[in-house]
Amino acid sequence: MSQPVQTFTPEAFHRQAHDALGNPQIRANFRKAMDGLMDKRRQAFEEWDLEALRTLGASVRLRALSRLPDLLEQLEAKCEANGIRVHWAEDSEEACRIVTGICQENGAQSVIKGKSMVSEEMHLNAHLAEAGIDALESDLGEYLVQLNEQTPSHIIMPAIHLNTDEISTIMHEHTGTAPTRDVDVMTAAARAQLRERFMAADVGVSGVNFAVAETGTLCLVENEGNGRMTTTVPPVHIAVTGIEKVVENLSDVPPLYALLTRSATGQHVTTYFNMITSPRKEGERDGPREVHLVLVDNGRSRIYQDDELLDTLRCIRCGACMNHCPVYTRVGGHTYGTTYPGPIGAILMPHLMGLEATKDLPTASSLCGACGEVCPVKIPIPDLLVRLRRESVGEGRGNVPGAGVKRSTKEVAAWKSWQWLATHPTAWRGASIVAGKLRGLAPSHLGPWTECRVAPKPAKASLHTLIKQRTKHKELRQGQQEGES
């Protein structure tokens, strides 16, 4: 059976995690997929000096970020010169309005979409539906997830939470495809269904993997060919992207592409690397007559203000951090309740949605460090998780929205008292004697700590007292021995 439609929110992370952990199907689907992806990634880098390549990737991304405002202006100028129209959006709302506006100007009824996480972040489909425009996902995984009225559970493999039987049921219920376990048959059915829609679509909407400032080129990475269809068949193409996706030079693309495919799926290369530099020119036979690029900020320029959090913007969206995350593997992507799940989601979503809603996400990590170790552009993800934990209890220094949401006056007072005691020896000794005497009164329930642990109890005598007694004892014995000899 396909899963019932369920809405996930980051606020309900704990309950959702609890439910997911109790769902053997979800756990099995993710475990199997993530184990395979980790193996494949390792093999894909076997012939490479991975450290050197990751350093190169990090340097390309950091160089781009260090010149970000200039490169965005250069990208805009180049694109405009090539005939691509560039739009800027402060937030999701504005980005949706821009896309919807372009659709309406062109009298569009139907939109076909290539995979774009930014459009997921914008909730573009819902916005278009409100305007009476039908948006259809064409990436097979996204298509299945959309049919099932769900959201992607992984940024690279949107339908990773579903198994073959579940997908067969979804295709049968929503498209009338005869139930089958044959993946080729299901794929062929989807191909036929979507081909009609490509031909009928008025507008194609895609994401962007890298935007090259030097040449005004939009690069798209994919295996299926739906990205090429989306950007070639409809008369209008709208590419939406976050402002951080820009790179300086065309020669910056090969290292990032090499890192992206191997980190994401362990592929040495994807089937297609699609580089778009202009709309259809006079005399050319196919391709869209209009190409638009929508640059979406949505909190990114705020992240840019902070020296440490800025590293979040290096991300090339490969998903390796989630593939290697022991928490993600166990709870799955939906549990996070956000567009981007896993470690990258935990460090990015607080900026996009505020810490009020996402305060639990930075704690969804054992800080084992795997995410940081595999990140192709060396984002220190564990450090950023710790930093956001600090922000959430009001100990940070940045401008993360909702900072201090987890601050509790009781907790602050408790730590302050502890600090005072620990720096005043006489008071400390007095307090530890009292604590030893009153140990019977220590509480046996201490919130989440005692959910799976025994409550700590003060010792009868403190270590300090014990050592003092021992020293005394020893001295006494030594004295006796000397007397005997």
């Binding site: 990090a58 405002p69 990436d139 993946v183």
Partner: protein, 226 residues
């Protein structure tokens, strides 16, 4: 003030404040060795082997032939695969030679690909068995073809038909993507659309099981001319 001004304003402010904080150092960019992405120095033999190994590993077919009689190889493939309708251009050398060899000789309809797509979209999507294109060259490291679609061989010719037949010269295989970009001066001359193609269209979205031909061609056949 427009969204553009506000976004760029915030970014500039962020950058200036950072410079002030750390005495003009800004974001620290790690020193990196770019040779990790190029400098392979493979022999011709090794290049060919790598290209073929990688392309066949992703389900692409490589068929070797002599440059002079490549059209005979093409005929054999068309027959083998039961291709009845082949879309191709006119002007490009590959299309011209193929037309010369095929016209009237076999039971194969040659479909003109050098037309505005609007005039034959339905036909292209449902009645063409294979598309024939030339290639700019190839990349040994990843088994990729590179294509710059033209007026004569448009973008959809390598995408929509169920089989893509691509003609490649052995001398046009280079070591890496980086090498191709540099030696052909891509940065100064990017066309409307540049493509790397590595194998037929594929997906693993159904429980990680590979399936070919999800949106693009089910088969990619490379005729490698020596």
């Amino acid at each position: 003030m427009t969204a553009r001004d506000r976004i760029l304003g915030r970014l500039r402010k962020g950058r200036e404040e950072r410079m002030q904080r750390d005495g003009g150092r800004g974001i620290v960019i790690p020193e990196a060795d770019a040779s990790v992405i190029g400098d392979r120095g493979w022999s011709r033999q090794e290049r060919l082997q790598r290209f073929e190994r990688w392309l066949t590993s992703v389900h692409g077919e490589v068929i070797h032939c002599e440059t002079d009689d490549w059209t005979e190889t093409l005929c054999r493939i068309l027959k083998q695969k039961g291709i009845k309708r082949l879309a191709l251009g006119h002007e490009q050398e590959v299309a011209r030679q193929a037309r010369q060899a095929l016209e009237g000789k076999m039971d194969i309809a040659l479909v003109d690909a050098a037309r505005d797509v609007e005039s034959w979209q339905q036909e292209l999507f449902s009645q063409v068995d294979a598309g024939l294109t030339s290639t700019g060259g190839a990349i040994a490291e990843t088994g990729s073809l590179w294509l710059w679609p033209t007026v004569d061989e448009p973008r959809l010719l390598s995408l929509v038909p169920p089989i893509h037949i691509a003609i490649l010269d052995a001398e046009a295989i280079e070591d890496t993507f980086h090498d191709v970009m540099v030696s052909h001066e891509w940065a100064g001359s990017m066309p409307t659309n540049a493509l790397l193609v590595s194998g037929p269209s594929k997906t693993a979205d159904i429980e990680q099981t590979l399936a070919y031909g999800v949106h693009g061609p089910r088969e990619l056949v490379v005729i490698l001319r020596h």
